[in-house]
């Protein structure tokens, strides 16, 4: 079920109301049933895959806890193999098959392994990682195994964050599933407020930007460098609003029932460096990779070349996590290289700029970081490496062919383009403030301002929302 669908407008109040009306001890199954319903609205049969993951990790958790030494490790490995195996089969089989096929055929040899005609189960990478974090935490003895299968299933399937995160940890979500929440006016109002902000970001900004981005990126050959640049700026806004919009709806929906999910974004485009960016963007994923891959590899407490290798491999895998395509792999590698370059050149920059504390220096870094990220987004959005190269060559003026931005604006209707750009710019201005307000770091000037702001979000969604069948970008991962 999509958050931006009429079904969800019915589903959400029914589930929330039902949750509070039921006695505490019955709430878990109500939420589990609702989560199953939510997931099965996509491709019902894929619930079986989820069921398999849940069964394996539930059993693994108990068996890891019961055993010590080698056996304990064996059960962890079994859990990892099962989870990664499912992920590899559904997500990466065709990619690997195509890549191997290209190499073999390139060598002049025949290659006839057919592709699998399967749809990627929605949110597979998210719930696989969430489930894995449980078995790893049990193995590390930081988490007691969950003996109630239904509650564990709910931990993996909790509907607000099931298909696109935040990727939760058992210490946060599993613990809360055992807690009793009474209805609380402030918390519910706060949750609804965050949901409204999420819907605004998705419908009014992300999808409007997306319509323009799609036109350019589906056929970059037809557009000139300026148009490609504007489209990439819009994509940067689209992907942030799309993903953080989903997260806001998820966190808001969970909060109305009392659950606090992880913070997943902290105004990432205000970052002054790439490492800061990754501390503010998709925090639940970057911290997952940090805790379960980067640190076990040795983190930065190793020889310098090994440290670079650790950074690079983590980002390469992070790219691959996003999608089974070379564009994502190169995107991940690029971010790895950014980080390594930042470390290598740090002494050099320090010598030039010293410890400058002036505000403009901070803004210069923000500007520079944003544009490095922007280059990465070209790879992330392009349909192939060839398309990405074409866009870069257009940016650099090496390829001047293609229609102008004015042509694209005319094709869209100037008013539609102006409204999109207006909301995109407005968002950039107000996002840092609203983000603090949503996270309750600052208060609204007055109650009436608060109400008017929420009403404004509803009206903007109604009048300027982009409607149609648009998925959240991160659902595909």
């Amino acid at each position: 079920m999509l958050f931006n669908s009429l079904s969800f407008l019915v589903f959400f109040p029914v589930v929330t109301l039902g949750y509070y009306l039921l006695p505490y001890k019955h709430r878990w199954w109500w939420l589990l049933a609702a989560s199953c319903w939510f997931y099965m609205a996509f491709v019902p049969v894929y619930i079986l895959i989820l069921g398999f993951t849940i069964a394996v990790d539930y059993a693994a958790g108990i068996l890891i806890d019961r055993n010590e030494g080698r056996k304990r490790k064996l059960w962890l490995v079994a859990s990892i193999v099962a989870n990664v195996g499912v992920l590899a089969f559904f997500k990466y089989f065709n990619f690997l098959n195509q890549s191997i096929g290209a190499v073999v055929r390139g060598a002049g040899l025949p290659y006839e392994v057919p592709e699998l005609g399967i749809l990627l189960p929605i949110g597979l990478s998210f719930h696989t990682f969430q489930s894995l974090s449980y078995t790893i935490e049990v193995y590390r003895k930081k988490q007691a195994p969950e003996r109630r299968l239904g509650v564990f299933a709910l931990y993996v399937m909790f509907y607000p964050q099931l298909v696109a995160g935040p990727i939760e940890r058992p210490a946060n979500l599993l613990r809360q599933l055992g807690m009793h929440f009474d209805p609380d006016y402030d918390r519910i109002a706060h949750g609804l407020r965050q949901m409204a902000w999420g819907f605004f970001k998705k419908l009014v900004i992300a999808d409007r930007c997306g319509a323009i981005v799609d036109l350019v990126y589906s056929n970059p050959n037809q557009h000139d460098g300026w148009t490609a640049l504007v489209a990439t700026y819009l994509f940067a806004i689209q992907i942030y609003c799309d993903f953080s919009g989903y997260t806001d709806i998820a966190i808001g929906a969970a909060r109305t029932m009392g659950f606090e999910l992880m913070v997943n974004f902290r105004t990432p485009y205000m970052s002054g460096s790439i490492s800061e960016f990754w501390g503010r963007w998709h925090i639940s994923l970057s911290s997952w990779f940090r805790d379960y891959l980067y640190i076990p590899l040795g983190g930065n407490r190793v020889a310098v070349p090994r440290w670079y290798f650790n950074l690079f491999i983590v980002f390469l895998l992070s790219g691959l996590w996003h999608g089974a395509d070379w564009t994502y792999v190169v995107w991940g590698a690029l971010h790895g290289l950014y980080l390594i370059a930042a470390i290598v050149f740090k002494p050099f920059w320090s010598r030039i700029f010293g410890e400058m504390k002036v505000r403009w220096y901070r803004w210069l870094n923000v500007f520079f970081t944003f544009h490095l990220v922007l280059c990465g987004w070209v790879l992330f959005r392009a349909e192939s490496i060839g398309h990405a190269k074409l866009i870069f060559s257009k940016w650099l003026g090496l390829n001047t062919a293609g229609r102008s931005l004015a042509h694209l604006v005319g094709e869209l209707k100037p008013g539609v383009f102006v409204i999109t750009v207006f909301f995109a710019l407005l968002f950039f201005v107000i996002d840092p403030w609203v983000d603090k307000w949503i996270k309750r770091e600052v208060r609204m000037p007055s109650r009436w301002f608060d109400l008017a702001f929420q009403a404004g979000l509803v009206v903007a969604c109604l009048l300027f929302g982009f409607y149609g069948k648009t998925m959240f970008i991160y659902f595909q991962f």
């Binding site: 209805p183 539609v416 929420q454 509803v458 109604l462 409607y467």
Partner: protein, 315 residues
């Protein structure tokens, strides 16, 4: 309970402010003109201006009169069935076809404009391109031009797209505004004609496969059932398509419509590629699949003759 009441009170307050702001903003967008038209038409690519074929036909349509035949459907309908030819054959006909009309839209029109007293039979033109849409394009046209508010709300309820609510509000705000343009090809009784013929290269969409809009076959069934409940005979028709058209796609479409026809026990007369008429792709069409007047003049007498042969209009 107290918390629920507080939440509801807050929601009501937010809702009230939202409604005031919503109407206020739309009012300003409708009243402020940029160039010849109101600003609201520049804010989205789906809002239609008032005027054109649909506006004229619904002004002209008299629900109190009786028509032997009501033709309904998409652009194929209002460009392919000429009331003058029917009139010459002694049959009164009104054409309620409108641009991009899908069964979802057709159903709303049938519910509001068709009665046993004013309609002898319904002839529903089925066209794959129209049935591939969700019904929003047609709702944009109908919402500004038809006379029934209920029909617009009915489409909103069926399509679930908030933009139709916006269209409805624009319709109410612009109610006293005159039509913004006229359809110079409009003839009468809902029919528009074109005399151009095909020139140059035409894209017949040969690479397209059949994709039907969500719920469209179900709404086609609803349209048929509604007429049957009223006791009005209903026929499904597809008018001739150019020989160079997409045959496999139409074959798939034929199967869908044929199965609906069989399930609802109505007749489906598919003239798409099987008509035995001396039609050619350039002289009898004005684009990739719409008839010009020369094509209509060949097809309509054949249709009337076939209907008579089947026993219609015998009294």
């Amino acid at each position: 309970m107290a918390i629920l009441i507080r939440i509801l009170r807050r929601a009501l307050l937010v809702g009230l402010i939202a409604v005031l702001a919503y109407v206020g903003i739309l009012f300003v967008l409708c009243k402020v003109k940029v160039g010849a038209n109101a600003l609201v038409y520049r804010s989205s690519d789906v809002y239609n201006l008032k005027g054109g074929n649909t506006y004229r036909k619904f002004l002209e349509y008299d629900p109190a009169a009786h028509y032997d035949v009501i033709v309904i459907g998409s652009s194929h309908a209002y460009r392919g069935y000429d009331p003058r030819i029917f009139r010459e054959a002694g049959i009164s006909m009104f054409n309620l076809g409108t641009s991009g009309q899908t069964p979802v839209n057709t159903y709303a029109i049938l519910k509001e404009y068709i009665t046993k007293a004013n309609t002898g039979m319904v002839l529903l033109d089925c066209y794959e391109n129209a049935m591939g849409m969700e019904g929003l394009e047609s709702a944009a046209d109908l919402s500004q031009n038809i006379t029934s508010d209920a029909a617009v709300l009915r489409m909103f309820a069926a399509i679930h797209d908030p933009r139709i609510l916006n269209m409805f509000t624009i319709r109410k705000i612009m109610a006293n505004e005159p039509a913004a343009y006229v359809d110079s090809f409009y003839v009468d009784a809902g029919f528009s004609t074109k005399t151009d013929s095909v020139k140059g290269v035409v894209d017949y969409g040969l690479d397209l496969t059949l994709e039907l809009g969500e719920g469209q076959p179900e709404y086609l069934v609803r349209c048929i059932r509604y007429c049957q409940e009223l006791g009005i005979p209903i026929l499904l028709v597809t008018h001739p398509l150019p020989h160079a058209g997409n045959h496999p796609r139409h074959a798939a479409f034929h199967n869908v419509i044929d199965s609906v026809a069989k399930a609802t026990e109505v007749e489906y007369m598919d003239y798409a590629f099987d008509h035995g008429l001396p039609l050619d792709d350039r002289n009898h069409f004005y684009d990739h699949n719409h008839f010009n007047q020369a094509g209509v003049a060949i097809f309509n007498p054949k249709l009337i003759a076939d209907l008579r042969a089947k026993g219609y209009f015998s009294q």
